[in-house]
């Protein structure tokens, strides 16, 4: 099996001031996934959003799961699983 780089989208609520959490998670994913990351998109949004999508799959949703992702390593591990081709 070969690894395929993954596309990550982080959507964060600017009205709630979630910029720092988005940057923190983005940094952790960049350091953790390095070249396994095809792209990392940061999308400013509203309505209390803090969501993480990897290759079109919603891995974390503030609305659905509550709060921020507990641990960036969980997102990194899930992203790696999806990157196995």
């Amino acid at each position: 099996m070969t690894r395929r780089p993954v596309k990550v989208v982080i959507t964060y609520c600017t009205a709630c001031g979630y910029e720092s959490q988005a940057l923190e998670l983005a940094g952790a994913l960049m350091r953790g996934l390095r070249t396994e990351l095809a792209s990392l998109e940061l999308v400013p949004w509203h309505d209390g959003t803090f969501d993480v999508v990897v290759d079109g799959e919603l891995l974390h949703s503030m609305l659905r799961d509550g709060g921020f992702p507990d641990d960036p390593d969980t997102i990194i591990a899930a992203a790696r699983e999806r990157g196995w081709g």
Binding site: A15, C16, V43, W45, V53, L58
Partner: protein, 221 residues
Amino acid sequence: MADQFQISADRFASGMTYEQYKTQMTQRRDEFEANERGWEIDPDDLAAFCALAQPLNVLVLDEDWCDDGCWMLPILGRLAAESGKLSIRIFLRDQHPDLMDQCLNGAFRSIPVFVFLDANFKELGRFIERPASITRLREDGLRWVMEMRPEFRIFETSPALASEQQREQVMLLVRAFASQYAPLLRREVVRDLRMIVERANTQQLLSEIIATFPSPSETQA
């Protein structure tokens, strides 16, 4: 009402004045000050604030990045400046979790929060985030959009799943909606704050009348 808000006079006095808050703003100050201008307070609404027998203390919890705060706090600021009857002290939410946790919006630390307090720091009423009527209008707006363009239901799951084009289209709708409802928003905020002040005036009136009654011990004698 939720539990009475607890704060000492010294702690209240340690908060920022409205002008001090504006001075320390690092984000959105231009937008904040633009929201102070370009509208008038209805004279009848202002009269209700001017009619206060004694000035009220108003504790505010906010952060300068907050969208709702950028709309609501300038309205409170104008009411305070024009009535001369509101003493505002502002605390940053993230630096004062003990104050914030007395005003939770369900499970959320929603801001802005305005807590109206009498001269003895007894709570008279509170305003959290935005008027309920505006929240309902926002929900209606969202429902209308979903009915017209069912593909936008993807946003109910997550905007992160939508395409860039869909996100641009929705942001266009959100901005149009916000500019459309700005005058209504101001009226509704003033109305909610006026209701708190009218309650304070009524309470004051009743206590003044009751003070003229003989005490129960005198009546029994």
